[in-house]
Symmetry: C2
Subunit: 185 residues, 2 copies
């Protein structure tokens, strides 16, 4: 029988960046985050090109494929708009019962969760934290530290995203810096 | 509006071990790995209690739940049976089109993959490697290093496991230590 070498992986994290064939990169700047932060006055004065977060995704099958899995890596830069931390838009899944995992890789943050009754709770995110996000629960992440926050994610390819509900009605609570302590109000 | 504290996560990695409410731990010893290694003579002489690998799993919904997601952390100890590295049993998914992700966390290993035509290939696994395992592809991991190999996994809750096909017919190629180089033969 012939012998064969072992290949390098086609996907890998290089200095925290997900790289490899088929990986897609997206950026979210202040100008992309209308309706996310409460302090519209400070928001309006912030440079619209300010980078808030970046997402690298590996989406190997068509969206909607049952049983397919997607993988993502998100980096949220440190920063605030008023007393609110830089954070992701947040979303429910379009197929609302779909679950997701997030896990902390670098930096400090808070995962903010809200169910369909608009009840909100939050978990600390740090290197080694793992978060199961059940179906029917909206999720958003804030960088509460002074360094880059990086976290991994895995979700079903048929989950989809419903950003609209959060864009219109927001989360029922906001995470603010209250005397240096991340606090839900 | 009342203010609320942010909770600690319910799941976390503590020194590489997945901990938290609902996490299940399983061990695989030499005595559990009948029919895995080629050298049955050396296998028979190995202490049956020798620990080969450990799996911590978080299975928050019933197996078979569509859209549910499972999460696992596997530690393979360093060692060999003859010239074959300590490795997992390997499996197809019961629902064979279900995909999975593995990613390297600690140590050095090789992910061995085989499709339904029994074609085998392999990828190096290391801290930061990410591996997409498409549906219809059996997967097994070998620890090719001298330290513990740890890797994470995420897979759909309706994937299930088909260990039987591999137990009966094995992989079409084996990964052996050939003059210190992991080689598929």
């Amino acid at each position: 029988m012939t012998s064969a070498a072992v290949s390098n992986p086609t996907l890998f994290f290089n200095g925290g960046i997900l790289q490899g064939e088929g990986v897609e990169h997206a950026t979210r700047r202040i100008k992309d985050l209308d309706n996310v932060f409460q302090d519209t006055k400070v928001f309006g004065k912030t440079d619209p090109e300010t980078l808030v977060y970046e997402v690298s995704s590996f989406l190997p099958v068509a969206e909607g494929t049952p049983g397919g899995l997607y993988f993502g890596l998100t980096h949220i830069h440190p920063g605030k708009v008023g007393n609110e931390y830089f954070m992701t838009k947040g979303h429910f899944h379009a197929l609302i019962d779909r679950a997701e995992y997030y896990w902390g890789i670098k930096g400090e943050g808070v995962l903010i969760l809200m169910n369909e009754n608009r009840e909100v709770w939050a978990e600390r995110m740090f290197p080694g934290s793992l978060h199961f996000i059940p179906g029917r629960v909206a999720h958003r992440v804030a960088n509460t530290g002074s360094q880059l926050l990086s976290f991994g994610a895995s979700w079903p390819a048929d989950a989809g995203h419903n950003y609209e509900e959060i864009r219109k009605n927001g989360f029922a609570r906001r995470l603010i810096d209250k005397n240096g302590i991340p606090t839900l109000i």
